[in-house]
């Protein structure tokens, strides 16, 4: 069965092929990514995990939390190659972001493997959400949007590589701050370092591109960031309690936080989200993009 909408993919004009360093800051991130590589198999001390230190309920909660984290990370497995291809299809795109995206995708794979493996040692990876609502939230078909010539690659990039990756970084830091289990901490430390580069990359390239945006293009970026925050984030994509505080995933995250197994409390995430949306609004403002007001029953006006 085919979808009603047919995705029209741009045609590549490969030559002249620019491979020179042209955005030094992003090339430096690419170089740093290559140097700061790590190996989930050997750089995480898996044997240090002691299940006896936790009660069954905490372990059960944490396996769901870390499984869900694997699902979130998994989005990158199709999204990153799609935006990489899109950049290659568009004439004149610099080589630096393309190179960086290949490193980012490997780091996403390491994070997926780490989250999956940790869920395994906690009691077993869970391969799907508990509700149809949650499932729908994850099935975003990002690769289609990234490759669709009718959609702006820059707007897609700002949403997912700047705004979303920046939020992931802040959440990862909060989870690390609150983690006591040594294995959870190690995974979160490695992830935080990678996400620092990912978020920096997103905002650096967004800034680079913003200089050439027309007024309609800025409006498009604004509309897509707004839609993403309203329909995805505030619906509970990263913080399940925003979508349904009573859901299994939301309760699991709270219990994981209390056990020190690598999550943050709802209160901490609420403060973080409010601050982050304000920071995004300010940052987009510097790029000439206005972010309209948002609201959520648990967060108030943002």
């Amino acid at each position: 069965m085919a979808l009603a909408h047919s995705t029209r993919i741009p045609v590549e004009h490969r030559f002249p092929l620019h491979l020179q360093r042209s955005i030094t800051s992003i090339r430096d991130l690419y170089e740093a990514g290559k140097q700061q590589r790590w190996n989930p198999d050997t750089d995480i001390a898996w044997s240090r995990f002691d299940p006896a230190a936790y009660d069954a309920a905490a372990l059960q909660a944490a396996r769901l939390t870390w499984s869900r984290r694997a699902w979130v990370e998994y989005a990158g497995l199709a999204e990153t190659p799609a935006i990489l291809i899109r950049f290659c299809l568009e004439a004149g795109r610099e080589s630096d972001p393309k190179y960086f995206l290949t490193v980012r995708n490997t780091e996403e794979a390491w994070q997926i493997e780490s989250c999956h493996r940790y869920a395994g040692v906690l009691g077993g990876y869970v391969d799907q959400p508990s509700s149809a609502r949650e499932k729908a939230l994850f099935n975003q078909y990002r690769h289609r949007h990234a490759l669709d010539a009718e959609e702006s690659a820059d707007a897609f990039f700002v949403v997912h590589s700047a705004v979303e990756d920046g939020l992931e970084l802040e959440l990862c830091r909060a989870h690390l701050d609150n983690a006591r289990d040594p294995v959870a901490r190690q995974i979160l430390e490695k992830s935080t370092r990678a996400k620092e580069r990912h978020a920096a990359f997103g905002w650096l390239y967004a800034t680079e591109r913003a200089a050439r945006w027309s007024a309609p293009e800025r409006a498009q970026v604004s509309a897509q960031v707004l839609a993403y925050l309203r329909d995805i984030e505030l619906a509970g994509y990263h913080c399940a309690w925003l979508g349904d505080p009573a859901s299994a995933e939301a309760r699991a995250a709270q219990a994981t936080s209390e056990a020190g197994l690598g999550a943050a409390s709802q209160e901490r995430e609420r403060d973080l989200l409010c601050d982050y949306v304000a920071a995004v609004r300010a940052r987009l403002g510097e790029l000439g993009v206005d972010l309209p007001e948002l609201s959520h029953p648990a967060l108030g006006r943002l």
Binding site: R14, A70, N139
Partner: protein, 309 residues
């Protein structure tokens, strides 16, 4: 920005659901490759001794030829950045074994490293060149068509990987091994050897996947694999995608062959028709033998410069 668009029916037009999301090890030999690649990462900026390059032994003509040769290699490696990631999208869409999806992320990163290393080699030789000197050659080097195949729901993953990896990449690998043997310049040889070490895994990936899949496929599905490999060899490899001397006779391919010869004479990294031809033939014969075990029967191929083989 490009304005032209393609509108064939692709996997992007089909509904999919990421759940249930299997992340377990399903093909241990491919997961092993993912871990091995993670361990064996290298950095072209640091791990190649660029300072060791001495331009003095080479004439200006040789350096210019080698610049062109290494630029062309960079274009070819770039093709894997621009096209092959579509396979990863396909693996996710088809819910292929998770091992493929994870391995391919690092494979794409390795292609970046290769493009970067070839670019740097062209730079120290005098400067990277952004496009073929003669436009006619673009058709041979621009694409092997993998992006299109990867997004086409009518072509199976098995057919794509058999054609791209067990066919095309196997040929490229054997030529690379030969380049390591004959390249005298220490920096160029280091680049070839570093790339070759990654290519070992790239080829192993394809064979391991097909060895895993073939026992579950019926005769019709295997026939699709066979046709894809034949097309890749006839339409892409024998059209000069990797080797200029196989491209149709025209001033552009002759110019590229002259570049290859000068670069080879200088020991700066290329090879020439008379050395590569037996390697090419032997590789195709070996691939034919190995694929026979799958029930894939490759026919006799023919090329004006090789004859029947």
């Amino acid at each position: 920005m490009s304005t032209a668009v393609l509108e064939p029916h692709t996997i992007l037009d089909e509904p999919d659901d990421m759940f249930p999301l299997d992340l377990d090890v399903r093909i241990p030999k491919i997961r092993e490759l993912f871990h091995l690649a993670t361990q064996k990462q290298w950095d072209p900026r640091i791990d190649i001794d660029w300072e060791a390059f001495d331009p003095a032994p080479y004439t200006e003509e040789q350096r210019y030829a080698a610049r062109q040769y290494w630029s062309r290699r960079a274009w070819s490696e770039y093709g894997a950045i621009s096209e092959s990631p579509a396979l990863q999208i396909r693996f996710c869409h088809d819910k292929c074994e998770p091992d493929l999806r994870l391995f391919f992320t690092i494979r794409s990163q390795e292609e970046s490293r290769h493009a970067e290393a070839c670019f740097r080699m062209a730079e120290i030789l005098g400067g990277y060149i952004e496009q073929p000197v003669q436009n006619a050659y673009q058709g041979s080097v621009a694409t092997h068509g993998v992006r299109k195949m990867a997004l086409d729901p009518e072509i199976s993953v098995e057919a794509i990987l058999a054609a791209l990896v067990c066919g095309a990449e196997e040929i490229a690998f054997d030529v690379f091994r030969h380049l390591v043997d004959i390249t005298r310049d220490p920096v160029a040889r280091q680049v070839c050897a570093s790339i070759m070490r990654d290519e070992v895994r790239h080829c192993a990936f394809g064979w391991r996947y097909l060895n895993h899949r073939i026992p579950h496929m019926n005769a019709e599905q295997i026939r699709v694999v066979e046709n894809a490999v034949i097309t890749m060899i006839e339409k892409v490899e024998l059209n000069g995608y990797h080797s200029a001397w196989l491209a149709p006779d025209n001033p552009a391919s002759e110019a590229e062959m002259a570049v290859d010869r000068l670069t080879w004479e200088a020991g700066l990294g290329s090879t020439v028709e008379e050395l590569e031809k037996p390697i090419f033939v032997k590789t195709v014969q070996r691939v034919r033998e190995q694929m026979r075990d799958w029930g894939v029967n490759l026919p006799t191929f023919s090329h004006p410069k090789i004859g029947e083989f």
